[in-house]
Amino acid sequence: MLLALLLCYGGFTALCLSMDRHHADVLGRKPSARRRHVMKFGGWLLLGVSLWAAVCATGWGLGLVEWFAVLMLSALLLVLLLPYRPRLALSLAVLSLLASPVCAVLM
């Protein structure tokens, strides 16, 4: 579940940053068209990989349940952090993505 959580959080952060308003709030300026596309694509890709990670670990039944659970949790966490600690929200996303391959190998 941890790997799926890390990937979901990273994915949601990417999707969030692909939006003008949130990108401006966190990074101070609107994203370029290219960045927007990269973030959107990357975000969805990460969410997809997290689903794959969840299902690989515990099969389709439990895996889907766990994936939805971490999906909702990571979204809540991000939306709660964004207005209060945007830098922390972003750092956590970077950390999550860095930790993911480590997590994947260890589990």
Binding site: M1, C16, M19, A69, V70, M72, L76, V79, P83, Y84
Partner: protein
């Protein structure tokens, strides 16, 4: 209503949300607590040690006990201990129930290590919240009807809410705190949209769970009025043989566990029922442990002849529609969830509760603004305000009062389980009175502060009244006990923060400042 689809849905969402919001808040809060009902029960009966033993050993103890105390019963029911519920629960029925009716049972919980009666204070434990959330303390079957009706209204409110929320994707990550009504709406949308898969699942599954009761038309049409035939087909092992009237020696039950395991690839028995023990027509039905898969395998049972041990029947693989219904049931109950997933269920449940609560606050807040200048609230709004306070902060005081009653009522007191429940309702009733007598904001602050104080004091209360306080439970690794104390503390801190915010907001609005403009409310439907 002539104004367009979204407007109509906004109207529907607003009114269904209000009328059923108070009830749904209570259902969601108690249902969320029910995810930890085993842990709550453990805290409320701290005398019962949390020890597990092998299923075979427990079953042998159970059989010996029942042979001694319930030899002439028509039916024995044995719930084997599992990780979360370490007690060995036995029930027996003296006389068989009339067909289609629920029978009378005697219930005992045994210590699985010693086989003797467990000596724990009489309490409903976490089961109180579990049962309340779908029976609402009403006589059978009215409570279930009301809660299922509430579930259908919840479904309508959810879908109409989704339709109304025009910027559901654009505002997906939007939460703007410290902006008054705008923040409440953002919060409502956040806990609604971000946790939507859970909300939709929990709502629709609650409809499916009671669908035979509320939507029996299909049963009656397909089975030509013979509903019993439908249930017999669904639960074949519930066909119990009638007693032969002749004595027959009941075989030892423990070896049957292994034989049942042979039938189930990765499963094991969670409970057994013995029909006609001691009779020639005895049968033993082993049911699978529900905590294994997500899909609750209805009717998955193995039946043995009680005298010869011969395998009588196994239920065939689950057909797809039953598997889907079983999935709804299993997902709703969450029995399969391990500790981490169980906490996630809990968090999602709290999010649902918060979604309803914020909705109620917004409903009133929007309309209160219009009457803020006159200082007098029309009757309808005052009614909503009282109901909001009593159903939310009042309910939380009632919950903690239930826990306090458990520790304060004498252990040997007669009917103490009922009195714990009475305490819950008495305190809830008092909170209604309090909300009627006090002005809105004052009532909120006082009730939230009271709940906060009582919750924070739970670990202290525990330490003063039992030897199982945090110092002991953390050291021994009794996570259920420690977790309960710590969660109460955390809840108390949160409620204290809420009370403080409420009080601050009250002071801010009572001092009019020229700079402060009322925040214009965006009309979501336009």
């Amino acid at each position: 209503m002539k104004e367009g689809f979204r407007q109509a849905m906004a109207w529907l969402h607003t009114w269904t949300g209000l009328i059923f919001g108070w009830l749904l808040f209570a259902i969601f809060l108690t249902g969320t607590l029910a995810y930890f009902k085993a842990e709550i029960t453990h805290w409320m009966q701290p005398e019962i040690p949390a020890r597990t033993l092998s299923s075979e050993a427990s079953l042998t103890l159970a059989q010996d006990y029942l042979q001694q105390h319930a030899a002439g019963a028509s039916r024995w029911l044995i719930d084997l201990p599992n990780a979360r519920e370490p007690g060995l629960t036995l029930r027996w029925q003296q006389a068989p129930a009339e067909p289609g009716k629920r029978g009378q049972f005697t219930k005992k919980t045994l210590d699985p290590q010693t086989g003797t009666d467990v000596q724990g204070r009489e309490t409903m434990g976490g089961d109180f919240f579990y049962r309340f959330h779908f029976q609402l303390q009403m006589p059978y079957p009215w409570g279930r009807w009301l809660s299922t009706i509430a579930a259908m209204v919840m479904f309508v409110a959810l879908i109409s809410g989704i339709i109304t929320h025009k910027k559901i994707f654009k505002d997906f990550f939007t939460f703007r705190p410290r902006k008054g009504q705008r923040s409440w709406l953002d919060g409502h949308n956040a806990v609604g949209v971000l946790v939507l898969p859970f909300h939709l699942m929990i709502t629709y599954s609650s409809l499916v769970i009671f669908m035979s009761m509320v939507m029996p038309a299909s049963i009656l049409a397909a089975y030509k009025g013979n509903a019993e035939a439908f249930f017999d087909e669904l639960f074949p092992e519930s066909n119990r043989p009638t007693a032969a009237g002749q004595p027959g020696q009941l075989i030892p039950l423990a070896p049957l566990l292994e034989r049942a395991r042979a039938q189930w690839p990765e499963g094991q028995a969670g409970s057994l029922s013995v029909n006609n023990p001691g009779d020639a027509n005895a049968s033993v039905v082993l049911e699978r442990d529900g905590a294994e898969g997500v899909v609750h395998d209805f009717g998955r049972a193995v039946t043995f002849n009680g005298v010869t041990g011969e395998l009588l029947s196994t239920t065939p693989a689950l057909p797809v529609p039953m598997a889907i219904a079983g999935a709804f049931y299993g997902l709703h109950m969450g029995n399969f969830a391990g500790p981490v997933l169980r906490w996630l269920y809990f968090i999602c449940g709290l999010a649902g509760t918060a979604m309803i609560g914020t909705g109620l606050v917004i409903w009133l807040g929007k309309r209160q603004l219009k009457h803020a200048k006159s200082g007098v609230m029309p009757f309808e709004l005052r009614l909503v305000e009282v109901l909001n306070i009593a159903s939310m902060s009042g309910l939380m005081v009632a919950v903690v009062a239930f826990f306090w009653a458990n520790r304060l009522l004498p252990v040997g007191m007669a009917e103490r389980a009922n009195w714990e429940v009475n305490s819950f309702f008495i305190v809830w009733g008092l909170s209604v009175l309090h909300a009627l007598l006090r002005r809105g904001r004052a009532a909120w602050v006082e009730q939230l502060a009271l709940a906060a104080g009582l919750f924070c004091a739970v670990p202290v209360l525990n330490a003063l009244t039992t030897p199982y306080h945090l110092g002991v439970s953390l050291v021994q690794g009794d996570w259920a006990m420690a977790g309960f104390d710590l969660t109460c503390l955390g809840s108390g801190l949160f409620l204290g923060w809420a009370a403080w915010k409420m009080q601050r907001a009250g002071r801010a609005t009572s001092v009019p400042r020229a700079r402060v403009r009322p925040v214009p409310l965006e009309r979501e439907a336009t």
